[in-house]
C-alpha cells in the first residue's frame, strides 16, 4: 500500500480550486490511489454536470468518485475525509469565497475553508498556494527540518512518499543565529570540534526522523542543504530554484493572526505545492535521573 491510498479534492467551481485537481489526479495515478471529489451545493446535480461546473477536465472523469453535500464546506471536507478513509486532502489555498471576501487580513494567505481544514483535518493537506504554477511530474520533495518534532514527522512521511513516487528528497536546514526554537543552533551544545559536531548534528537531525523507515525509503534522501540566515528567505531561495518540486512542511498550532509566520510566508511566497503535515501525537519516554527522582 502506498503512503496515500485515497485522496480527497474539495472543489467549488473556482479556477484556483480546479488547478488543485490536476495535481491530485497526477498523484492519484502515480500512487494508484482512489480520487474523491467533494462539492458543496444545495441539492444534487448529475455528476457530469457538476464536474463540468467544477471545471474538471473530462479525461479525469472516469477516475473520480464525486460526492455532493449541502453542509458547510469545512465541516463537509473533514467529515468526508473520515467517511471515505481519505489519507490526503488536496486543495487550493484560496477558493471562491476568499475572492468574494472584502476585508482580508494582510497575513491571510489562505481562505477560511482551507484554514479550517489545515487546522482540523487529521490527515495531511496538499495545498496549492496562491502563486501556484503547475509543474508536473515532481522530481523532488523539499523538506525543511528544524529539529522540531513536526518536521521529523514530515520528513518521515516525505521519504515514504518519495519512494512511492520514485522521486528524491532534498532536506534543508536553515540555522538562524537569532532563533530560540529547536534546531541545529540549539542542539549543537558542546560542539567540541566544530567540523565533527555540525556534520554529526545535521545527520542526527535527519536520522531522528527516520527510526521506523527501512533503508529503501531512507535512500530517497539524496541531498542535505545547510544554510545560515533568515529561515524564510533561505527556504524561498531554495524552493524557487527547484521548480519541479513539492515542499513538505511539518507544523503544529494554528494559523491565527501572529502565529505560524514561517508557514504563512511559505504559502504566500512559493509557486510549488505544499504538503502540510501536522505533528502527530506521540508517547514519550523519560529518563529517571536527576534530583526530581530522588
Amino acid at each position: 500500500m502506498t503512503t496515500f491510498s485515497s485522496l480527497l479534492v474539495p472543489l467549488d467551481g473556482s479556477p484556483m480550486a480546479a488547478r488543485s485537481l490536476e495535481c491530485a489526479a497526477w498523484l492519484a495515478q502515480r500512487l494508484e490511489a482512489r480520487l474523491h471529489v467533494l462539492t458543496a451545493i444545495d441539492g444534487e446535480r448529475p455528476p457530469r454536470d457538476e464536474l463540468r461546473r467544477l471545471r474538471v477536465s473530462e479525461r479525469h472523469w472516469p477516475h473520480i468518485e464525486i460526492h455532493q453535500t449541502s453542509d458547510p464546506p469545512e465541516t463537509a471536507i473533514i467529515e468526508a475525509a473520515a467517511r471515505y478513509d481519505v489519507r490526503l486532502v488536496v486543495m487550493s489555498a484560496r477558493g471562491e469565497s476568499f475572492e468574494r471576501t472584502e476585508h482580508r487580513d494582510a497575513e491571510q494567505v489562505v481562505g477560511h475553508v482551507a484554514r479550517s481544514v489545515i487546522e482540523q483535518c487529521p490527515v495531511p493537506v496538499l495545498l496549492t498556494p496562491p502563486r501556484y504554477r503547475e509543474v508536473l511530474p515532481w522530481e523532488r520533495l523539499i523538506v525543511p527540518v528544524s529539529g522540531a518534532w513536526a518536521c521529523e514527522d514530515a520528513l518521515a512521511l516525505a521519504a515514504g512518499l518519495a519512494c512511492d513516487l520514485d522521486v528524491a528528497v532534498k532536506v534543508v536546514h536553515v540555522a538562524n543565529p537569532s532563533a530560540t526554537d529547536e534546531g541545529l543552533d540549539l542542539r549543537a551544545r558542546y560542539s567540541d570540534a566544530l567540523h565533527h559536531e555540525y556534520p554529526g548534528q545535521l545527520d542526527e537531525l535527519v536520522m531522528r526522523a527516520l527510526p521506523l523507515l527501512p533503508v529503501k525509503e531512507r535512500h530517497r534522501i539524496q541531498s542535505v542543504y545547510l544554510r545560515s540566515g533568515d529561515v524564510l528567505d533561505r527556504l524561498l531561495e531554495i524552493v524557487k530554484g527547484d521548480r519541479n518540486s513539492a515542499v513538505v512542511v511539518g507544523w503544529q498550532g494554528t494559523l491565527s493572526s501572529g502565529r505560524a509566520g514561517l508557514l504563512k510566508g511559505l504559502i504566500g511566497g512559493v509557486a510549488s505545492p505544499l504538503l502540510l503535515v501536522r505533528r502527530l501525537a506521540r508517547r514519550l519516554s523519560q529518563l529517571n535521573t536527576g534530583e526530581e527522582f530522588e
Partner: protein, 728 residues
C-alpha cells in the same frame, strides 16, 4: 536509584540518544544500547577498539553537504561499525512483536551500573486475549574481553501459543549500515553457531564473530526456534558472542568459534557472575559516595561506568572522543585523553593509565612524521589520532551546496596535545614513581616532545616565542604566545631536562643506549633548558589577569548574550574569521592553567582571571563547565560552582543535551570527576598520599552531607572523606 539509570516508555525519535546512554562496553568491545528487537533505523553498532578503516564517502547524510578535504588515502580515518550482535526477532502466534509494531503497555530499559549490564522489560498487548512480556539482559564481559552475553525471557502472560524466535544477526542492509565491511565466507561449520566474517576495505583487518545461542529445553535448528509456549512457562534464550580480529590472532573466526563452541547452558551464570565480580572490583576502587544526594551519586557512577567501559588494557588503543558508544568524532583520539580522562584512570586504575601512555608511545613515529610535516624536529602528537599517530584532522571542510570553504586550523596549529602527553607522563611518574615506565617509554616521549618545542619556538629579541597556534579556546587561530600552550611547553621542556638527568643517574646504560638511538647531542638538554627559561610565558598583569595570547586584550568586545552560553551557535562555524577578532572564547584556556597548576598562582590571581574570562566564555565545549566548576569551588563561589557542576554532571543524562545521540562525552565525565576531586575536595598529593583542602567541607554543595572516595597513589589506595562544613 543511585545504582541504576532507567528509561520508562518509548519514543522512536529519542532512540539514538538512548542507544548512547545505554551502551555497554569493556574497552575492547562496545555495543550501543539498541533495543533487542531493533527498529529499522536503530544504530545498534558494535565497535571493536582500534579497528579503523578509510573514510567511506557519502556514508552519513551530512557527507552530502560537508566535504572534508584530504581524507581519502589514509586507511585508518574512521572507526568501523559492525552489525548489532544482540538482534532478535520474536513472533507470537504469527504476530511479530516490537515496540514500533505492537501495542505495548510498559517498557523499561535499565542500566545496572553496579553489575555493568543493560536490562529491559516490555509488556506487549497483542490483543484483548494475548499479552506477552519480554525481559532481557546483556553485557560486554569485563572478565573476558572477547565475550558478549545476552539472556532473553519470553513469557506468555495470559494464554498459551506458539512462539518463534530468531537470533540471526545478519544485516540485510550491510552495505548501507556498515559500508567498511566486506563479508567473507565462513566455510562449512556447525549450523547451530551464528558466524560472521568480515574484512575492512582499506585497512584489511579481518574480524570473526561467532555466537552460540540456546533456548532452554529446545533443540537447536540453526538460529531459529518455533515452540509451543504455555501460560506461566517462560522461554529463556541465552546467547554467547565471541569477537576476535586479525589484530589479536591469525584466524579470528577460528578463535571466536573456539571461544564459544564449548559453552553450555549453565556456563552463562558463571560467566555473568565473573563479569559482575569484576565490576565489583572496579567499584571498590572507583566508587564515589555522596551522602545526601542519590541523584549526584547516580550521575557520577554513570560517568565512571562509561569511563571504565571505554578503556582497555591494550597499549595500541586509547579512548576516543565518544569512546565506543557512537560514530561521532569518527573514533578519533584527542588531547582530552591526557588532560581530562587520564586522571580518573591514574587514580582508580593505574594499569589503564599506563596503557594510555603506551598508546602514545606506539604512535610516536606518526608524531615524528607530523613534526617533520610542520618543519620541526622531534615529535608532535596528532591533534586527531587513530592507529599510526598520523594526524587525521582535515585541513578544511566545504559546504557542497553553497561552495563555502571553512578552514580547519586545529590540525596544523593546535599543538598543545604534545605537551598534554608529556604532562600525563609526568603525572604518572609522580603518582606511581614507576621508574620502569619512565625508563621504557617516558623519557623518550619527553625527549622527542622537548625537541619539538625547541624547534617550534622562535627566538625574539628577549624571549623565545611560539607563534601561529590555536590554544584550548578554538575560536582563535594563528595566535602568538598562547599562555596555556607556552606554559605547557615550558613544563614539557623542564620535565624533559629533569627526566634525562634522572635516567642518566638511575639507568646509565639505558640512557647511553637511548642517547645513541635518538642521537641526542650533548648540548641538547641544555638547549631545552634555555628555551624553557627564555620562553615568553604570559604572566598576570597589574590586575592579576593573564593575557590569553598576544593582543587578546585589544580584541573587539563581544557582549555575550545569555542564550548563547552553553552552546555554540552555528555562526561560530560559518563566521570563523569574524569570531577570531572578538573577545569571545569557547572554553577554559587561561583557566586551564589555573586548574592544572593550583599552587602556581595566588587565590587573588585565580579570582581575577576567573572574573575576567568566565563572562566571555560561551562554553561551546563539553570540557568547559567542569573546569569552571572546579575553579569556582576552589574560590568559594558556590553558586557558580553549583551551576557549572550541574551542567557538567548531567550533560549526557539531562534530556536537553542535544547531541548525546552521537555518543556519550567521556572527557566531560572525566572533567566532572576532576571537578569533584580537585575542585570541591581540593585534593592535593603529598608523599604520604592525597590530602583534601582544609576548607573542602565548606565547598560541598548544600545537599551533600559528605563525599567519600578512594584514590590510588604510589601503590596504595587512600580513602578521602569530607563532611559538610560551615560555609566560608
Amino acid at each position: 536509584m543511585a545504582w541504576t539509570v532507567e528509561q520508562e516508555g518509548f519514543d522512536p525519535a529519542r532512540e539514538h540518544d538512548m542507544e548512547s546512554i545505554f551502551a555497554i562496553g569493556n574497552g575492547y568491545l562496545g555495543v550501543r544500547g539498541a533495543l533487542d528487537t531493533p527498529l529499522p533505523g536503530s544504530q545498534g553498532d558494535l565497535f571493536v577498539a582500534g579497528v579503523y578503516d578509510r573514510k567511506v564517502p557519502k556514508r552519513p547524510y551530512s557527507e552530502r553537504e560537508f566535504v572534508a578535504a584530504d581524507r581519502e588515502d589514509y586507511p585508518y580515518s574512521e572507526i568501523v561499525t559492525f552489525p548489532f550482535p544482540f538482534r532478535l526477532a520474536v513472533t507470537v502466534d504469527g504476530v511479530e512483536v516490537g515496540l514500533a509494531k505492537t501495542r505495548w503497555l510498559d517498557h523499561r530499559r535499565t542500566l545496572d551500573l553496579r553489575r555493568g549490564s543493560l536490562c529491559s522489560y516490555v509488556e506487549y498487548d497483542i490483543d484483548a486475549d494475548r499479552r506477552v512480556t519480554i525481559r532481557t539482559q546483556r553485557c560486554a564481559s569485563l572478565s573476558d574481553l572477547h565475550l558478549l552475553l545476552q539472556e532473553v525471557t519470553v513469557d506468555l502472560v495470559n494464554h498459551s501459543g506458539e512462539v518463534e524466535l530468531s537470533a540471526d544477526t545478519t544485516d540485510p542492509d550491510l552495505a548501507d549500515n556498515h559500508p567498511h565491511l566486506t563479508p567473507l565466507d565462513c566455510g562449512a561449520t556447525d549450523p547451530t553457531l551464528g558466524l560472521q566474517r568480515f574484512r575492512t576495505q582499506a585497512s584489511a583487518i579481518e574480524i570473526g564473530i561467532a555466537s552460540r545461542v540456546m533456548l532452554d529445553g529446545a533443540t537447536a535448528k540453526g538460529l531459529r526456534w518455533r515452540v509451543a509456549a504455555s501460560l506461566d512457562e517462560p522461554l529463556t534464550l541465552r546467547r554467547y558472542v565471541a569477537v576476535y580480529t586479525s589484530k589479536d590472532v591469525e584466524d579470528p573466526l577460528a578463535a571466536a568459534i573456539r571461544h564459544i563452541e564449548r559453552m553450555r547452558w549453565p556456563d552463562f551464570d558463571d560467566l555473568m557472575a565473573a563479569h559482575v565480580e569484576r565490576w565489583g572490583a572496579v567499584w571498590k576502587r572507583s566508587d564515589l559516595r555522596v551522602a545526601g544526594s542519590p541523584a549526584t551519586e547516580q550521575a557520577l557512577r554513570f560517568g565512571s561506568y562509561h569511563l571504565v567501559s571505554a578503556a582497555d588494557r591494550d597499549p595500541r588503543v586509547s579512548v576516543a572522543g565518544r569512546a565506543l558508544t557512537g560514530r561521532a568524532y569518527e573514533g578519533h583520539v584527542f588531547w582530552d585523553v591526557e588532560i581530562f580522562k587520564f586522571p580518573f584512570y591514574l587514580h582508580t586504575a593505574p594499569d589503564v593509565a599506563r596503557n594510555l601512555l603506551w598508546y602514545r608511545y606506539n604512535t610516536l613515529d606518526g608524531a615524528r612524521r607530523r613534526a617533520r610535516d610542520l618543519d620541526c624536529s622531534g615529535a608532535c602528537f596528532a591533534w586527531e589520532s587513530t592507529v599510526t599517530g598520523d594526524d587525521v584532522t582535515p585541513p578544511s571542510i566545504e559546504l557542497k551546496t553553497s561552495g563555502k570553504v571553512i578552514p580547519i586550523f586545529t590540525g596544523s596549529q593546535q599543538l598543545h596535545v604534545t605537551s598534554a602527553v608529556a604532562f600525563a607522563v609526568w603525572r604518572y611518574w609522580e603518582a606511581l614513581h614507576d621508574g620502569e615506565l619512565l625508563r621504557e617509554i617516558g623519557v623518550e616521549i619527553l625527549v622527542e616532545t622537548a625537541r619539538f618545542w625547541t624547534s617550534r619556538a622562535t627566538r625574539g629579541q628577549r624571549h623565545f616565542h611560539i607563534r601561529e597556534v590555536v590554544g584550548p579556546d578554538e575560536y582563535h587561530h594563528s595566535v602568538n604566545d598562547n599562555a596555556y600552550t607556552n606554559w605547557m611547553a615550558r613544563f614539557n621542556l623542564e620535565r624533559a631536562v629533569a627526566a634525562v638527568a634522572w635516567m642518566e643517574r638511575s639507568f646509565p646504560k639505558d640512557w647511553r643506549a637511548l642517547k645513541r638511538r635518538l642521537e641526542i647531542g650533548p648540548d641538547e638538554p641544555r638547549a631545552w633548558a634555555t628555551v624553557a627559561r627564555e620562553l615568553l610565558v604570559p604572566m598576570p598583569n597589574a590586575h592579576g589577569v593573564i593575557e590569553q595570547f598576544e593582543g587578546f586584550f585589544d580584541l573587539e568586545d563581544y557582549p555575550l548574550p545569555r542564550e548563547e552560553r552553553f552552546k555554540a551557535p552555528i555562526s561560530r562555524l560559518f563566521d570563523w574569521d569574524k569570531i577570531n577578532r572578538l573577545k569571545l572564547i569557547k572554553q577554559a584556556d587561561v583557566l586551564m592553567l589555573l586548574f592544572l597548576f593550583p599552587d602556581a598562582f595566588p587565590a587573588k590571581v585565580v579570582e581575577a582571571n576567573y572574573r575576567y574570562y568566565e563572562p566571555i566564555t560561551d562554553h561551546g565545549s563539553s570540557l568547559s563547565p567542569g573546569i569552571h566548576a572546579a575553579i569556582a569551588a576552589r574560590l568559594g563561589l558556590r553558586d557558580d560552582a553549583e551551576r557549572y557542576w550541574r551542567e557538567s554532571l548531567w550533560l549526557d543524562l539531562s534530556n536537553g543535551m542535544g547531541n548525546s545521540a552521537l555518543g556519550i562525552h567521556p572527557a566531560c565525565m572525566g572533567a566532572t570527576w576532576q571537578a569533584l576531586v580537585f575542585g570541591f575536595l581540593g585534593v592535593a598529593f603529598t608523599d604520604e598520599g592525597p590530602r583534601c583542602a582544609p576548607d573542602a567541607g565548606s565547598r560541598l554543595l548544600p545537599n551533600w552531607r559528605a563525599v567519600g572516595l578512594d584514590l590510588a597513589w604510589r601503590g596504595r589506595v587512600h580513602r578521602a572523606h569530607v563532611a559538610q562544613g560551615p560555609m566560608r
